[in-house]
Structure formats: structure tokens, C-alpha cells
Symmetry: C2
Subunit: 231 residues, 2 copies
DNA sequence: GCAATCATTTTTGTATGCAAAAATGGAATG
DNA sequence: CATTCCATTTTTGCATACAAAAATGATTGC
């Protein structure tokens, strides 16, 4: 018999641990969208999707509403929902906001990150360099994302992190469009180099500027790719 | 309490509106939360709330999921949902992010706003001044919010606007705590004065800085009020 | 008197049913 | 051949049903 826990009447958040079907459906559906398995503008047929995810329409519809709030799906009254289109204008908007969020995160991270945090990020950076050297795109992207994620985390602002995560989901959808040519790729890596440098020196202003530029460059690449697509 | 008829805003299905019940429920529920009618940490009883909003549990649950994504409600697995607590730490986080978003909006607005836009905002500002002069708090808040909203709108970035709206909802919940003392209120008005000035001169950098400070000052007030609350 | 236990009630989570709207397809018409 | 109906099918939106989990509260034992 374990010790009887003291009844914490008010602090409800501490016991929100159990996994709910609704949440797994949200995660699965978000993955399908972000990974591009459900392409932009795909109609979400409730019956089909529910069967695919092994659930009924009710939790699926709740998940769709949740993702609609994140902007990953669009609700069409009486006509269901579609995967949010990948419009160039939308991308432009997202990158601008994301730039501001990452800049803020960079500044906060320079103040709040521990030395261990920075060492971790640096390690991720070297992993990324290795994959860049070998021209391995997928692992490169993975480490790239992890670095950005870690910088956000080091900012120590959960609200910022959540907002960033939602915005970043949109960008992830477009990442495979970026078509990293050798020159562009090298440039992006160089920017990362500078970012790690600024973070190590805890130069918040510099890191902020670098992140903004980095995002702006990413946007250019995505825009070229999107603009080239016949729509 | 026996059947107390709740004034149904207009659940009329007469007009062939494209508006879904789900959306009206989202708006109604958000209003109840933002206006404080559903206090922080209130448990959302689905049966009771559905009846109150004149609907069934299904659309209500969808609305709850939607608002959970906005952060206004928290989901407790197998225990339903509660109105998100108003914790000081959360407020601090929100204000930091909101500061970055408004700063960005200010910069963009200085670039993109038309002269007519600026004239409109200036007009709102004078209305606000009038209500400040008369010490009318509620109308003051209303115009204050409208001014901030208009600046966001002038940025011409719908993604930014939506993100701001969600963040701002949290702040609105705390606004009645701010307890504007004469001195503080005067200071806030003075800051607005400067903001209008910077916008008119289209001095983006200045407006950005002013908005950041303005938000930081608001935070101080809210924090004092929240910190003073025995919780 | 108090805590623990367990039956009962309540509430949540999911599935299903049903009506209305939209999509589909095919015949009739120009 | 294209277009416009209209009947049929499909899909969505909402309500309800039902099982499982949690809250409640009465009872028992100490």
C-alpha cells in the first residue's frame, strides 16, 4: 500500500497524463498532413479517414476542429474539411511571424540557456554538418529542425514554444519543396554556423538578426519553389 | 435552480447562413471565457453547457477542442475540460510573445497602413481620450482594444492577426484585474499618444519599441494584480 | 468520530442513427 | 454535343445511445 497522496484540490494540470484517443488522432492526422501524405487541399472524408485511423467519426471530427484552430485544415461549412492549401501568400505570412518568434526565442535563449544546453545544440550542429558533408538531405533536415526546436525550448517560454510549433508545422509541409541546391545549402549551413557562434557568445541581438535573416532566406527558397508550381 | 431561461442570442435557423453551429458555439464559449462569465478553472460540464448554449454535446465538444488549441481551455483526460487557469507565469509568457507580435505588427503597419487607416486609428484614439477624461473605464478599454486591433489589421498579415487574437484573448481575461489607478492610467494614455505619433510619422522602429514597452507596462500591472491574489 | 469500502449516480468518451445538404450520374432537351 | 434537370447516392452536421471512468455518498468497521 503506497502512501496516501495528499489531495491537491486545485492543481489539476499535474495529473493530465493519460493518453486520450482524441489526442492520438490529432497527432496522427497532423503527421499525415505535415509529412505530406495528405496533400494540401485534399478533402478529408470523415468515413474513410476514421476507418484509416481506426476510430469513429466523432473523435476524428474533434481532431479536425483542433487542427483547424492550428490552421492545418480548413473548414468548409456543409462541405467538410480540406487540408489547408499551401499558398505562397500564406507561406510569406507564416515566415514573417515565424521570423519574429524565432528572433524572440534567440534573444531569450541567449539569456536563459545553460552551458549544457548550448553544448547540446552545438553537438546537434556538428551532426548536421556531417550530414551536409555527405549530402544526406533527410537527416540534415532532421537535425536542422532539432536545432531550431532546441533554441525555442531554451527560451523557456512554453507559450512561445507552442505558438512556434503550430507555425512551424506549416513550414515543414513546404520543406521538401525547398530543393536545396549546393550553393543555397552551403549558405544555409554557413548561417547556422554563425548562429551557433552568436549563441555561444550569448550575443542575443546578433542571434536575433541571424535568425531573422535565416528565415527570410528560407522563405525565398520556398517561394521560388511554390511560385514555380502551376496552381 | 429550476429552469432559468437563458437569453438565446439568436439560435434561429431561419437565415440560410453558411455559419455552422459549431462556429457559433466556439464564439459564444470564447466570449463566456474572455468576459469572465466562466471564471478560470471552472469545470465545463458538457450537459449543462450544451443546454445553456442551446445545442447538444457534440458541437459543444468540438468547440471545446477548438478552444483548447487556442489555449483558453485545458483538457483533462477522462475528466472533461476546465477554463484555463490564469497563472502569473502564463501571463508573463503571453505578454512576452504578444509584445513580439505587436512590435512586428507595428513595424508592418508603418509600412502598409493607408493614410485613411491612420486617420481611423487616430479617431479611435481621440474617442479613447474622451473616455479617459471622463474616467469611463469600460468604453476606454473598448477603444483601446480597437486601436490595437486596427494596428494589427494594418499590418496586412492574416496569420499574424489570428495568432495575435488568440494570445490577446488571454490578456483580455485579465484586463479587469489591472485596476487602473490614476497615475498608471495616465501613463498608459501617454504611451498611446506616442504610439499614434510614431504611426503618423511612420516611424516603424519607434512604434515597435513603444508597443513593446506598452505591453511590458501592462504586464507589470497585471502581475501586481495577479500576484496580490491569494491562490 | 473517522477512514475505507463499495454501490449508485453522474459525467465523460466513443459509436451510431438520422435528417439535411451536397455530390453524382443519367436521361431529356435544346 | 453541351446543358439542365431530377432522382439517387453520398457525405456532412447534429443528436442521441451506450459503455467506461470518475464522482458521490451511504455504510461498515475500527
Amino acid at each position: 500500500m503506497p502512501d496516501t497522496p495528499i489531495p491537491q484540490a486545485s492543481n489539476v494540470t499535474s495529473l493530465a497524463e493519460r493518453r486520450l484517443l482524441h489526442e492520438t488522432v490529432v497527432d496522427q492526422l497532423r503527421d499525415l498532413i505535415v509529412q505530406g501524405e495528405l496533400a494540401p487541399e485534399t478533402k478529408l472524408n470523415e468515413r474513410v479517414l476514421a476507418e484509416r485511423l481506426g476510430t469513429s467519426r466523432t473523435p476524428l471530427r474533434e481532431a479536425i476542429k483542433f487542427l483547424a484552430s492550428e490552421g492545418l485544415v480548413e473548414l468548409l461549412p456543409n462541405r467538410g474539411a480540406v487540408v489547408a492549401p499551401l499558398k505562397p501568400e500564406k507561406m510569406q505570412e507564416v515566415f514573417v511571424v515565424l521570423g519574429a518568434l524565432e528572433a524572440l526565442a534567440g534573444e531569450l535563449a541567449c539569456r536563459n540557456a545553460s552551458e549544457a544546453d548550448i553544448a547540446d545544440i552545438r553537438a546537434l550542429h556538428y551532426h548536421m554538418l556531417a550530414h551536409h558533408a555527405r549530402g544526406e538531405l533527410a537527416p540534415y533536415f532532421r537535425y536542422n529542425q532539432q536545432i531550431h526546436q532546441r533554441i525555442i525550448d531554451c527560451a523557456g517560454n512554453a507559450t512561445l514554444a507552442q505558438s512556434w510549433r503550430a507555425m512551424n508545422a506549416h513550414v515543414k509541409r513546404a520543406r521538401y519543396l525547398a530543393n536545396l541546391s549546393g550553393e543555397r545549402w552551403d549558405k544555409a549551413v554557413k548561417e547556422h554556423e554563425d548562429m551557433i557562434d552568436a549563441l555561444t557568445r550569448r550575443d542575443g541581438a546578433k542571434l536575433q538578426a541571424l535568425l531573422r535573416d535565416h528565415l527570410a532566406n528560407k522563405l525565398v527558397m520556398v517561394m521560388e519553389a511554390l511560385g514555380g508550381r502551376p496552381k
